[in-house]
């Protein structure tokens, strides 16, 4: 794995500069049931294809960002700062 990840602040950088933060998921409500929280905590979608995920630019701007990546080809379709897309 040695692809380049475009950081919205710093531009194209080696993926080794980043910490992977996992799939972007919606946290359950505080009073959700135990199985729902367990599912959130332990289960991954683990898609073979395009997913949105968290990255932290550890050796750069030290900001969290979101990247849309194809997990099969490692092609990064876009990346943006959280909140930029009105999500």
């Amino acid at each position: 794995m040695s692809f380049l990840l475009p950081c919205p602040n710093c531009g194209n950088r080696s993926v080794y500069e980043f910490r992977f933060g996992g799939e972007v998921k919606q946290a359950p409500a505080p009073d959700a049931t135990e199985p729902v929280w367990m599912d959130y905590r332990f289960n991954l979608v683990n898609v073979a294809g395009v997913q949105t995920e968290w990255w932290f630019h550890r050796s750069g701007c030290r900001q969290w960002l979101k990247a849309v990546r194809n997990t099969v080809s490692n092609e990064v379709l876009e990346s943006f700062l959280p909140g930029e897309k009105g999500e």
Binding site: S14, P28, P30, R41, W54, W64, P82, G83
Partner: protein
């Protein structure tokens, strides 16, 4: 130049490679083969075949034909005993019938058999060994370019020159000593474009890496490049080249033909003969037979005749019956007659060297027109030019033998017969055939044998060469030393601001992540660890001690909503913490598992000072930032770890020491336990936290890093009359263990929740929401399985971390920390035990040194259980 070969002296001319010098001196056998120990001589002379691997200055498997001689070098043969000329193990070729294809799988059907045979086989077969004299210095470098050109032949020079003229930053990677590729040794290929080369050499935007090879083309156009002898004292440098565009200009290489005895010493590829002649002035033989198609044979024939070699005959590949001779070639049998000779020059098929394109995701497709597998491009950022793209005129393709044995894979002695047997046994796909027979899996990585293996497979299965296909090309190819991959031996070290003070006080160091911390101090005596730690322990318990805790993570969290964020991420409540107070802080994940602990002090209404464990700072900082996202809270988090030095002054006399240096009122009425103050100490602005990890009256003092060493020395001076001692991590661990204080990651693991660890008081389930609340609420109601408890051992021998706890003859838990306690005069520790056993006074057994020792459980701290001392 002089060097050593097999213990004796050898001579070389300037510019010689090891193999060229040895050949000139009359050496003909360079290696013994992997399995049958057959003598092998030079074949490709370009670093592509396994026939010249030697041990050079302790490094095994060095390609001696491309390694320049250096003054005083020590060169040794491999896999031959007692010598290259006489190798006792060559007897194995008489027993080849005992070792058919796949004999490992067929013979060693039980693990015990393999274990018995492996040492012998490992010694008899295979490659060299690493000697203690092998160099130990390697380094890594990084390079960013617009265009990386792999290969310095005519096509590479042209591509580099075009890119350089466009103003791009260009790197040329060439495995030879100078640019020119085949132009350097093939008269007919043309003239070396010296003018262009010198222009490239002088261009500011061009870097030329000579004697460097690219062993892998990875995702994102990352090239792994190995540079030999980058400078004095360093054996190899691994250059990580990142390119916008990669041009593969690796050319084509010649491969052997298949006929019986095709591996005899004295059978060489035509390009090998030309290299020896043109690059090193070495004539390969006296009487030569040339095997090949007319045009290629004509070219090498002219070169040899010019060097005074007698050309006995020129034979087409289809006419060959067999080469004759034992060891060295003595002649050749053809359909038109038998000829004696001392050199057979083989003009073999030329194969585009396009493995890198395949690594980058391209495909290799057979072209009948070109008689070669040609690359198709994977993407716009990789291109392929010159012979690697199939621009060369291929020589005649190899005719295939019917039944007689010809060596296909020289690396692991796989013959055409072996391949036929493998196919007959059902391994009829090229990828399974490769794995079963190991053909193409040796040091040459299929360069010499892949085309022949595909040819045999195609003929035996009746499929076309295109249908048979090629095996997958994977990096590294060519091979890379592990030393180069592992890189330099130095590690970055973080030193605390007081590092050199510790050094002068005789610190014995321990590594904690990147940090170095004093484990204990040898101080004026030559005392061992045990005595030193005991002295340090006593000074803290009886008088006063001081420890450097600068490695703690420190975060300055400010803003109107800072309390809200801390309430959300930590289990305790911090929004109601009064300014001037400190609280223990525990962080859990959504599953309720303990991640980190530390303290949080509220310095002002909108300013909190957060400490984390040394190793988890980045993680905690990133978590806080992450939970802040998507909120509209006004919080700013600043990592001030390196900005502050920190020390913990602890012991009954600590107040007397600190009082001398500050105006701050230190009485328990004005500055109680778990309070914090901003104050000047020695005139240095500092943050004082009255906390007690070690269980005594004490202050954690944080001050600007540049003043920390001065403050440390001032405290030692002020404490001299009280017998102050600096103490290290080892004494601290013992002191905290007596207090039953948990170290996250040592006493807790990836399943520990606060209830099991006895930290239930830190979890405020009445908060509206916080990380882990849902599952912690469940954990609070559930019967949990284990508890972290203290134990007092009946004896002074210490159990190891992880030692088994036994109760009623059944496994009942494990030890996490244990030390000898001077207070209890026996070994104490923390252990996980079943909930049913987690009661005061319960007796258990602990495994110590292979035996079971009896122990008693205690739920309270071993020392000062009421916590009176740290409040004094």
């Amino acid at each position: 130049m002089k060097f050593h070969f097999q213990g004796g002296p050898a001579e070389a001319k300037v510019g010689d490679t090891i193999a060229a010098a040895l050949y000139r001196n009359g050496q003909r056998i360079f290696t013994r083969s992997f399995k049958y120990h057959r003598p092998r001589g030079l074949l490709c002379v370009s670093g592509k075949c396994p026939n010249c691997l030697m041990n050079v200055d302790g490094v095994p498997n060095v390609r001696s034909c491309v390694t320049p001689v250096q003054q005083g070098m020590t060169v040794k043969a491999q896999n031959a005993f007692p010598s290259l000329e006489t190798d006792f193990l060559s007897i194995t070729q008489r027993f080849d019938w005992l070792m058919p294809v796949g004999w490992y799988y067929k013979t060693f059907t039980h693990p015990a058999m393999w274990r018995a045979a492996a040492p012998t086989i490992r010694k008899a077969a295979g490659l060299g060994e690493v000697l203690p004299t092998a160099p130990a210095e390697y380094e890594h470098a990084w390079m960013h370019v617009d265009t990386a050109v792999i290969g310095g032949g005519w096509a590479g020079i042209e591509a580099a020159s075009t890119a350089a003229e466009r103003g791009e930053r260009v790197a040329i990677i060439d495995d030879q000593v100078s640019l020119g590729g085949q132009l350097r040794y093939r008269k007919r290929a043309g003239e070396i474009p010296l003018e262009i080369i010198s222009r490239l050499r002088n261009a500011a935007n061009v870097r030329i890496l000579e004697e460097s090879y690219c062993f892998g083309l990875y995702e994102g156009n990352l090239l792994g490049v190995l540079q030999r002898n980058p400078h004095q004292g360093t054996a190899e440098r691994l250059v990580h080249v990142r390119a916008r565009h990669t041009v593969v200009a690796t050319g084509a290489y010649e491969t052997p033909l298949l006929f019986p005895n095709n591996d005899l010493v004295g059978i060489m590829l035509s390009t090998g003969v030309q290299r020896l002649l043109r690059l090193y002035g070495v004539v390969a033989g006296k009487r030569a037979v040339i095997v090949g198609a007319a045009e290629a044979a004509e070219e090498v024939g002219a070169d040899l005749r010019g060097a005074g070699v007698e050309i006995v005959t020129v034979a087409s590949p289809t006419q060959i019956v067999a080469a004759t001779g034992s060891g060295h070639v003595q002649g050749i049998q053809t359909h038109t007659g038998n000829f004696s000779c001392d050199l057979i020059v083989v003009c073999g098929p030329r194969v585009p060297d396009a493995g890198l394109v395949a690594q980058a995701g391209g495909k290799l497709e057979w072209s009948d027109k070109d008689g070669a597998f040609l690359p198709t491009l994977p993407s716009a950022v990789v291109s392929v030019v010159g012979d690697a793209a199939g621009e060369m005129r291929p020589n005649a393709t190899s005719p295939l033998p019917s039944s007689k044995r010809a060596f296909v894979c020289l690396c692991s002695d796989v013959s055409s017969t072996d391949l036929c047997d493998g196919i007959a046994e059902g391994f009829d796909q090229i990828e399974t055939l490769k794995r079963y027979t190991t053909a193409t899996m040796g040091p040459c990585q299929g360069r010499m044998c892949q085309l022949s293996a595909i040819g045999v497979c195609s003929r035996e299965t009746g499929r076309s060469i295109g249908e048979t296909g090629v095996t997958t090309s994977r990096p590294p190819n060519p091979s890379v030393t592990l030393g180069a991959l592992a890189g330099p031996r130095h590690h970055p070290i973080r030193r605390t601001p007081m590092h050199y003070a510790h050094e002068s006080q005789g610190a014995s160091w321990m590594d904690m992540g990147d940090w170095r911390r004093p484990r204990y101090y040898r101080k004026e005596t030559a005392a061992g660890e045990k005595e030193s730690v005991s002295l340090e322990y006593k000074s803290v318990r009886e008088r006063v001690g001081i420890i450097d805790v600068s490695t703690l993570g420190k975060l300055d969290v400010r803003g109107r909503d800072a309390g809200k964020l801390l309430d959300m991420v930590y289990t305790h409540r911090f929004s109601d913490l009064r300014p001037g107070r400190v609280r223990y802080a525990l962080m859990c994940d959504e599953g309720g598992v303990i991640l980190d602990d530390g303290t949080i002090s509220r310095l002002e209404d909108d300013r909190y000072f957060v400490t984390t464990t040394s190793g988890n700072l980045d993680f905690v900082h990133q978590s806080l930032e992450w939970y802040l996202l998507g909120t509209s809270w006004e919080v700013h988090i600043c990592n001030v770890t390196a900005g502050y030095g920190a020390m913990n002054l602890a012991g009954p006399k600590s107040r007397d020491v600190l009082r001398q240096l500050t105006d701050c009122d230190l009485t328990s009425e004005a500055f109680p336990y778990m309070a914090c103050r901003k104050a000047k100490v020695c005139g240095i602005p500092a943050i004082l936290l009255r906390i007690g990890f070690v269980g005594e009256t004490g202050w954690e003092i944080h001050c600007p890093a540049e003043s920390a060493e001065g403050l440390w020395q001032a405290l030692l001076a002020a404490g001299a009359e009280f017998g102050i001692r600096p103490f290290g991590v080892e004494a601290q661990r013992l002191l905290r263990l007596e207090k039953h204080h948990v170290i996250v990651g040592v006493d807790t693991d990836a399943l520990t929740n606060p209830y099991e660890a006895g930290l239930a008081w830190t979890v405020k389930l009445d908060k509206k929401d916080f990380v882990g609340k849902a599952l912690l609420s469940r954990a609070a109601q559930n019967q949990f399985r284990e508890r972290l408890v203290g134990f007092v051992l009946n004896g002074i021998e210490l159990p190891q971390d992880g030692a088994a706890v036994v109760a009623d003859g059944q496994p009942a838990g494990r030890v996490t920390s244990s030390r000898f306690s001077p207070i209890q005069k026996t070994a104490i520790g923390l252990a996980w035990v079943k909930v049913s056993k987690a009661r005061e006074g319960e007796s258990i057994q602990v495994r110590v040194d292979g035996k079971l020792a009896s122990a008693r459980i205690t739920m309270r701290p071993f020392y000062d259980p009421e916590g009176v001392r740290l409040r004094q």
